[in-house]
Amino acid sequence: MSWDRVPVDLSGIRVLTQKDEFKGERVISYREAIREALSSALGRDTRVFIFGEGVDDPGGVFGTTLNLHKEFGQERVFDTPICENALTGIAIGASLAGLRPILVQMRTDFMLLSMDQLMNHAAKWKYMFGGKVSVPMVVRTIIGGGWGSAAQHSQPLQGLFTHIPGLKVVMPSTAYDAKGLLLSSIHNESPVVFVEHRWLYDHKDIVPPEPYFIPLGKGSLRREGKDLTLIADSFMVILAMAAARVLEKEGIDIELIDLRTIKPLDYDLILNSVKKTGRAVILDFGYKFCGISSEVSSFLMENAFEHLETSVLRVALPDVPTPASPILEKAYYSGEEQIITEVKRVLK
């Protein structure tokens, strides 16, 4: 099965993977970068352990945990029963006892079975006890559909996680960020939901071999421009970059913000950019209804209204479950052409 086959057209989009941009520096994929971050954390910190369904199998969660159990032992990298709620509680307990658990939930849909422990417990544990204890744990989870994954194997639920005070939610779009943000997530004192995108696993980037940390809550300016700000997360950053190149040829100068962390949001970066450009289109690989795009949009209405020259538009997933048929799937996911259309609507 071609699980990694991407239903949107990616021809010529691997803008972050152009070899000639790298000038002889080391280039590895998003999946390798995640594995390298995990290996680095396991090697440097004996409190770190990884558990979840199939983390020690020959697939190694799309290669991200491949053979780590051989390197660091079965006690620190281990397979588990299929009991998402208990596993999340176990991560909480282990972190309360001083460990740094990393729980892998191969598909975000399965995390819905753990919402009691994640939302009622992990998210609230520090606050409920006046800061006397904290829960430094990471739940790694994977979004991105395709190949008829359908309604229960491809839900992007990041908006749901951000709704709950107490959780941090991270969505890297590049291999460099995946490593640096994962290391920061592991060494952070709060529960973090680390949302990976399956379509990004083969994307390559310059990734330094040594450990490094990208601060949570800080976005990145991927491209400077003066006409309009695209505010994107995860895979949408890749599409946005492609759209920006097309628009450049038409004389439209795009500024691109990669949110990197969607909770907490980097409000300063968003505000400063929109103050400059006066226009924004928000791109989220998640549901449009009550999602990240609605949140950023209302933030702009509340804080940047006087700087906006036109209304803010959004590109996000429609308010329907994911369909299986390739024709419907293609219609479900947005590509760069939708972004270009919305940008032009704003600039009209």
Binding site: G89, A91, G93, L96, A97, D116, M128, F129, G131, G166
Partner: protein, 324 residues
């Protein structure tokens, strides 16, 4: 184990905690109508022997996980009454700085790492600390207390399986008081023998009189030692009765939820009375020993209450602290 002779010092200590829990909660009942303790309180009166019998076998660094009905477990684990009363009154000196209330008490200094009020919610978290104990090889045992209601929840079974699979140092203690809020056990569970669930998970399961602190002490000792020595988890069902209503200072009689006769039968099996009669009849302790404990506790309760009442409330800006 049946013939285990319990040291006089331990007997005195257990009596001290039995009475301390009872008096603490009686004070809550007395003062609750003033509406100054503005949080739901789930009272433990009638069930004290279970917390006391187990915690008497634990060290400071052994973990205890409780539930919404947590006062007894915290007191038996040695938590001071001052931060507990202050928490009930929503004061900054409360054990959770006024953010938790009665249902969410914490006391890391006694290895109480937080208390969930979601039925069954604390069980997997307790298993997680047991996993850490095993990984850290530090011999810290975990005891998790929950009610018969938690046995309705799926996460209970998930947790038992994981703990047994990994042979973790944890004792699961089900305080079966036969009601989940107002729903009797027979409306909810097909098999009344909760301890038998242990069989399927290949761990020992034992049923004990939850009002007999001496029996509980012995059983607890056996299974805590077992866990400590790497032989894995166990499930203890302690049958008992909650004298008061599910939440609040009243009883269920005036609310019409329970039969007066049923309550009276269980009140007659009072764990404190049972203990007192036993130790006096067998000359294990003297009447004056018991009286001294009573006086000491009365003073402690009053001091804790004064501390809580004179403490200040959190500042409004504390609302935003400690989220992340």
């Amino acid at each position: 184990m049946k013939n285990l002779v319990i040291d006089t010092g331990i007997l005195k200590k257990m009596y001290y905690y039995l009475v301390k829990i009872r008096r603490f909660e009686e004070k809550i009942i007395e003062l609750y109508p003033q509406q100054e303790m503005r949080c739901p309180v789930h009272l433990y009166i009638g069930q004290e022997a279970i917390a006391v019998g187990f915690c008497a076998n634990l060290k400071k660094e052994d973990y205890v996980f409780s539930n919404h009905r947590n006062h007894g477990h915290l007191i038996a684990k040695g938590v001071d009454l001052k931060p507990m009363f202050a928490e009930l009154y929503g004061k900054i000196t409360g054990c959770s700085k006024g953010k938790g209330g009665s249902m969410h008490m914490v006391f890391p200094e006694r290895s109480i790492m937080g208390t969930s009020s979601i039925v069954g919610g604390g069980i997997p978290i307790a298993v997680g600390t047991a996993l850490a104990s095993k990984m850290n090889r530090d011999e810290r045992v975990v005891v998790v207390f929950f009610g018969d209601g938690a046995v309705d929840e799926g996460v209970f079974y998930e947790s038992l399986n994981f703990a047994s699979l990994k042979k973790l140092p944890i004792v699961f203690v089900c305080e079966n008081n036969f009601y989940a809020t107002n729903s009797p056990q027979e409306n909810r569970q097909v098999n009344p023998d909760i301890y038998k669930i242990a069989d399927f998970f290949l761990m020992p399961g034992v049923c004990v009189d939850g009002n007999d602190v001496l029996e509980i002490y012995k059983i607890a000792k056996e299974f805590i030692d077992r866990a400590k020595h790497g032989s894995g988890p166990s499930l203890i069902e302690a049958r008992t009765y909650r004298w008061k209503t599910h939440v609040g200072p009243e009883t269920d009689i005036e609310k019409g939820f329970r039969d007066e006769k049923e309550v009276a039968e269980w009140v007659n099996k009072c764990p404190l009375k049972k203990f007192e009669e036993h130790v006096l009849r067998n000359n294990l302790l003297e009447k004056k020993d018991l009286q001294e404990v009573g006086k000491k506790i009365e003073k402690e309760v009053q001091e804790a209450l004064d501390f809580a009442l004179t403490s200040r409330y959190p500042e409004e800006e504390d609302l935003y602290k400690d989220v992340y």
